[in-house]
Symmetry: C2
Subunit: 166 residues, 2 copies
């Protein structure tokens, strides 16, 4: 259940994500900050899949949020239940143009408008085994720190966290 | 033993660190990458102090590396043993102009020249209690992810991690 690689490319840079997906992500980032979760995008998992967003609560609860920017985007994903093995709760996040009723009852659902998001359906909890949580938390710490170090090497000093930060 | 604040300002930006200290830090970053540790600078600890660098190994071992850029910089620090409560090994790091013999035998010592660093004295191991390690790893994950989110909000897309990254 460890994270496989620290070398993930940033999806904002390599252009693999649609503008709609980025809009959903921005709104989710705002909501997650309100909930005092911190979120990391594009987290590679031991299964070989990649979580669109993985968030950590103050108490260490782990959520995965899969962003679906269109009906088609959801329809082609037949393996979404696999994400459950890597989080305590699994959510989809989409925007108001996608019909909410295409999403399964077995996962939570957020609707994001790019400025914020709201919870339409809560997600059932399936608590991670302690060893999995430990490995995943360590993996997230190493991935986030490696990305920071890399960004600083490329860009020079980064701005510090401001008081608006969750 | 949790990390107190996600709102730390970046020392590279606010000018509190000397050029010598930044040189030591750069060399240490290179060595830590070789050791497959990831490092985060300026990590606030539950004691109210702030670690100059905290690193995480692949297995989750936690090191604190205190950077001392001058004899005076070390002499004024009477509380360095306190850092032991927050790591598995404690090191000082300095540069070749500072006499190595001023540093205590009870901590490890790295000498950094800005491009790399070498280990002059290994540090004794004092393994963290599991609950402390868990809280600290979660705190590092949340701190690093919050800094990334903040930097992205300020700067726009950051470059992804490249293959040279540890």
């Amino acid at each position: 259940m460890t994270i496989l690689s620290l070398h993930a490319t940033n999806p904002l840079v390599d252009g693999r994500q649609s503008e709609k997906a980025l809009l959903v992500r921005r709104g989710m980032q705002a909501l997650l900050a309100d909930l005092r979760h911190v979120a990391l995008p594009e987290v590679p998992l031991s299964s070989g899949r990649r979580a669109d967003m993985l968030s950590l609560s103050e108490k260490g609860e782990i959520w995965i949020i899969e962003i679906k920017s269109s009906v088609e985007d959801f329809r082609v994903d037949r393996k979404w239940p696999d994400y459950r093995a890597h989080c305590d709760r699994l959510f989809f996040a989409t925007h108001p143009d996608v019909p909410a009723d295409i999403f399964p009852e077995e996962a939570g659902l957020f609707i994001s408008d790019g400025y914020g998001a709201h919870l339409l359906r809560d997600a059932p909890e399936h608590k991670l085994p302690p060893a999995t949580r430990k490995a995943l938390t360590l993996g997230v710490a190493r991935l986030a720190a490696a990305r920071l170090t890399h960004a600083e090497r490329m860009l020079g000093p980064l701005p510090g966290g401001g008081p608006e930060e969750g």
